[in-house]
């Protein structure tokens, strides 16, 4: 599929196009946060504590009188950074494991996949919680925990794809022409598995962002005073009755971001590989 063919198919899904625009805007907000944010996200102004939206602060102020709008913009940085890095690590690791397992087969395949099964046997969040509680909270450990959580899904996906590609004629032809395993994996198998990787990657960014927010909400992820959406919602919990904007605004930011990546992932799937409908 050429790029213009892809674009023509992608364009048909209006939600996906809108989601792409939102994702681009979010990326821009994250990159240019220092220039976009009207205030310093960490400067406290005690007289403005819990100020409601409107007036001096467009989206109000939090429990320390910090500007909610600026903190929400800076929060995009944390969310996207964790989402992209964690998914990136999980994807690279998972793709490597999946390719080796699928291509080599035999006992190695069996061993690697059983390890992946065991990682998948942990209920949602709990493995990440265990990892973060052992290593200690913080952004880097959060990224690592989320990456380990995404790893088995990518490994399984790629393994399946490698096994089906392995028997295709063009791989056999490459082998007959004397290509070694490494060349076959890099030049033939990987390029043909790229669609599912991109689709899963996008959907997993959404999940990683949710997970970072959840861990930070529980106090185990990114640490204050860094503006993380999860921490902001957690702080706002104590003022829900009198200043509901503190919890609702960052929560809305999480929901919009995750929805955008989900819709984008769905759109990419429909355009690239409609067979993956249940991903």
């Amino acid at each position: 599929m050429t790029l213009s063919q892809f674009w023509r198919r992608f364009r048909r899904n209006k939600f996906a196009v809108a989601a792409l625009v939102v994702v681009i805007l979010l990326l821009l907000a994250a990159i240019f946060a220092p220039y976009l944010a009207p205030h310093d996200p960490n400067v406290q102004s005690l007289p403005d504590r819990r100020a409601l939206p409107g007036g001096k602060f467009l989206l109000g102020a939090d429990e320390f009188g910090r500007d909610m709008l600026s903190r929400t913009i800076w929060g995009a940085r944390v969310a996207l950074r964790v989402g992209l890095i964690a998914t990136g690590i999980g994807m690279v690791g998972g793709v490597a494991i999946g390719m080796i397992a699928g291509f080599v087969g035999g006992w190695l395949d069996e061993l690697l996949m059983r390890i992946m099964d065991i990682l998948l046997a942990f209920p949602y969040l709990l493995l990440a919680i265990a990892i973060v509680s052992a290593l200690g909270p913080g952004e880097v450990n959060t990224q690592l925990a989320i990456a380990i959580w995404t790893l088995p899904s990518f490994a399984r996906l790629i393994r399946g794809s490698v096994i089906s590609l392995k028997q295709r004629e063009f791989v056999e032809a490459a082998r007959a022409l004397g290509a070694d395993t490494r060349r076959i994996l890099w030049r033939h198998v990987l390029p043909n598995s790229i669609s599912p990787i991109i689709i899963y990657g996008t959907l997993y960014i959404a999940r990683a962002i949710t997970m970072e927010a959840a861990l930070s909400f529980l106090g185990m992820g990114t640490q204050p005073p860094t503006a993380s959406w999860g921490i902001m919602v957690s702080a706002g919990r104590n003022y829900l009755r009198t200043a509901p904007h503190i919890a609702t605004i960052p929560g809305l930011a999480i929901a919009i971001t995750v929805l955008a990546f989900n819709l984008l992932g769905d759109g990419l799937r429909d355009a690239l590989d409609p067979r993956l409908k249940d991903a």
Binding site: F122, P123, Y124, L125, L127, T248
Partner: protein, 307 residues
Amino acid sequence: MGRYLIKRLLWLVPVLLGITFVIHTVMSLVPGDPALILLGDTATREQRQALRTELGLDRPFMQRYVTYVERVVTGDLGKSYRSRRPVTTEIADSILPTIKLGAISLLFTMLMGIPAGVLSAVKRNSWFDHTATLLSLLGLSMPVFWTGLLLIYYLAYKLPIFPVGGMDNGLMSYILPGFTLALNSVAMVSRMTRSSMLDVLQEDFVRTARAKGVPDRTVIFRHALKAAFVPILTVLGLQVGLMLGGAVLTETVFSWPGIGRAMVGAIMSRDLLMVQGSVLVLATCFVVVNLATDLCYGFFDPRIRYE
């Protein structure tokens, strides 16, 4: 069936060993002196040394793992550093509220997700289908803890219908946390029901049933839904995992006295044995539920033969 069951039960052994190994490995990554963390800095040097010997911290990794498994098998998960009570007692005290909450939200998931998915499939491309699809994507995208807070704000503060938290108000206290915990799952179950029903509705036996005059309702719910149920059941089984993990968030938001909230408290006070024990118990529950789900397949689809 008997042989299959035994095979599957035996398979639990390596899986559970794997789970304990992962937990053991993760916990051995704890930086610093675990004895110091477990006992706190008020403990004397002798106490710490005693604990180190008791936990076998002075021995090599694999030896420690074997000891750990031996203790787990005999039901000894260690003592909670916070309460000084055995971890098993702590878990036994808090797991029931979590199970009740999980059961309620599984009920919500089925009562909302399955009918919504069926209706979406039957009325494909109608406004209902489009709305349901969009709502389920929204449900998948809203963070659980935020949904919970929104529900508290609107339905406990603004309109004081439900209690803000806790489980002292009978059935009423279950509604908001149950719904919150169910929301993500409702979205997934309805999506799966829709796509599975769409596949089945095209099949010959559905057309035959319609042709011979079976009422629509019977065709959809008795014939088609039953045939479409295996993938739905798989997703439902997986939701239990999502709920066991999601309970950590929901219970925190709603001050629910379950194992999830106990775990968060344990993590905050670095009560590592409690964390380790809770993760182990919840992961075991999840594995067992998945096995039970697999065993139910044959009931819905007699073509599935267990070997």
